[in-house]
């Protein structure tokens, strides 16, 4: 697999790990006084556990798992709205597989499907577009979910639908953006972070400069990173080197994919189709200003919120996180997943209580499934 497997070479990994160990030592970080690096992106969280990197990196380095999984930060009331849309007469509700199992207050999409809703898992919004073409007598609603990486795909799909004059396609837009929650985390008085590994695929769309504030305003290093294990290790090393050197810069480890200024076509499509909502709710983090997108007035015909009167802000929504949920503390690095009293008991991937147990990219789910903490314990 070109441009992928080359970046999984164990020899190089060993070298990077040795260098990481060296720099951690140089910094003087120890198990009790570790250096904290947040991987913002769930994809990085997944890779860390998938390849067992957490156990290979030195004790003085601690990963804080960030809020960068769009499925994890999806509030239950959003899922409820999805179900409500799927329940509309004649609707085909399309979603990425990721969202199928996320619990709503009533039910998950998986359960709604079992209850008779026509819910289809698709790989791409283009597949939903095709469904709309083939089912002119049905209303096809696509669940637009994801960060800047995914936002261009729904924007381009809406533009395409408009070009074709498709009247039965709409997007239930729940796209969110990465920088504001980082800022929110940085503003959190409890947060002790020494640097960031930045989400590479977000930057392939928006470039690296939207993170300038991290270096400039907060004095923290950030390295935009690829997703292969060597990418990740190299980026961690680069962050550590900045820390050691007292630098705070925005660096780009993933230059083969990430252009400094992002992708102009994608940015133009986003700009054309979407506008910022005043604020948006994140599961585990609450309302964050200017952190979510909505469809502009001129594309109202493709806006499921407008079309069905269901969606963000349409009704009074009870935004209540389940009791005993420690997701906020985990996401701000104050707690490890295993320290949550619910972990593995009231909260498992089969029956997730909190946001971070929902998707395999959530920190708690990754801990649970890949054994962040369980590997050493005896089986229950």
């Amino acid at each position: 697999m070109k441009y992928a497997e080359e970046f999984r070479d164990p020899k190089a990994a060993k070298a990077l790990l040795a260098r990481i160990q060296d720099v951690v030592t140089e910094i003087g970080a120890t198990k009790d006084k570790p250096v904290h690096i947040m991987e913002v992106c769930g994809g990085h969280t997944h890779a860390i556990f998938r390849y067992g990197l957490d156990k290979l990196t030195p004790e003085g380095l601690e990963f804080i798992h960030g809020p960068g999984c769009p499925v994890c930060v999806l509030p239950m009331s959003r899922v409820d709205e999805c179900v409500e849309l799927a329940e509309q007469e004649g609707v085909i509700f399309c979603t990425f597989g990721d969202a199928m199992r996320v619990p709503g207050t009533r039910k998950s999409l998986m359960q709604a499907k079992a209850d008779g809703c026509d819910i289809r898992m698709v790989y791409s919004p283009l597949d939903a577009l095709e469904l709309a073409r083939r089912n002119p007598d049905r209303q096809v609603v696509f669940f637009g979910l994801g960060f800047e990486t995914t936002t261009p795909s729904t924007a381009l799909s809406i533009q395409q639908a408009a070009r074709e004059g498709l009247e039965n396609f709409s997007v239930f837009c729940n796209h969110i953006v990465v920088p504001p929650p980082i800022k929110a985390l940085l503003d959190d008085p409890h947060m002790v972070l020494d640097g960031f590994v930045g989400p590479g695929h977000v930057s392939m769309v928006i470039g690296i400069h939207p993170y300038d504030f991290i270096a400039q305003d907060y004095g923290k290093p950030i390295v935009v990173a690829g997703f292969e294990p060597l990418d990740l290790l190299q980026s961690v090393l680069m962050v550590l080197e900045q820390i050691r050197d007292g630098r705070a810069e925005v660096e780009n480890q993933y230059a083969r994919i990430v252009p400094e200024h992002g992708n102009p076509v994608s940015l133009a499509a986003i700009e054309d189709v979407y506008e910022m909502r005043p604020s948006f709710e994140w599961r585990g983090l609450g309302e964050i200003d200017s952190s979510g997108l909505r469809i502009r007035e001129k594309y109202a015909a493709y806006d499921a919120e407008a079309k069905f009167g269901i969606g963000y802000g349409a009704g009074a929504r009870v935004v209540k996180e389940p009791e005993g949920c420690a997701c906020g503390a985990v996401m701000t690095g104050r707690m490890k997943p295993v320290q949550c009293p619910q972990f593995g008991l009231g909260c498992t991937p089969e029956m997730p209580l909190g946001a971070l147990m929902v998707s395999s990219e959530g920190a708690c789910a990754a801990y649970y499934q890949y054994g962040g903490a369980r590997a050493a314990e005896p089986a229950e």
Partner: protein
């Protein structure tokens, strides 16, 4: 988040809709190439791009890729040498 995988554009399938066939390890899927296409769509054929949810999101900069890889390889080799030296050292010590 944002699962992406490098794939090669092998054929334009629907120029009007900017659709092309991408291939990943022998697996093909039609993708939209609006984000990586120049004026002449056919120039996209043969290119490698990062594929995400059915869109070729970003062209792979082959030079940058080679550079990163070179650096990593270098690192790997240096590490091997170091280990060899360490092993030699240990052997010497053992021999002593």
């Amino acid at each position: 988040m944002c699962l992406g995988i490098p794939g090669q554009i092998v054929e334009i399938t629907d120029a009007a809709r900017m659709m092309a066939m991408a291939e990943v390890s022998g697996v093909r899927r039609e993708v939209n190439v609006a984000c990586i296409a120049g004026a002449d769509l056919n120039e996209a054929v043969g290119k490698w791009a990062l594929i995400h949810v059915g869109f070729a999101m970003s062209e792979i900069d082959e030079a940058e890729a080679a550079e990163t890889l070179e650096a990593l390889r270098h690192l790997g080799e240096a590490q091997e040498e170091l280990e060899a030296m360490a092993a030699g050292q240990a052997a010497l010590e053992d021999a002593r």
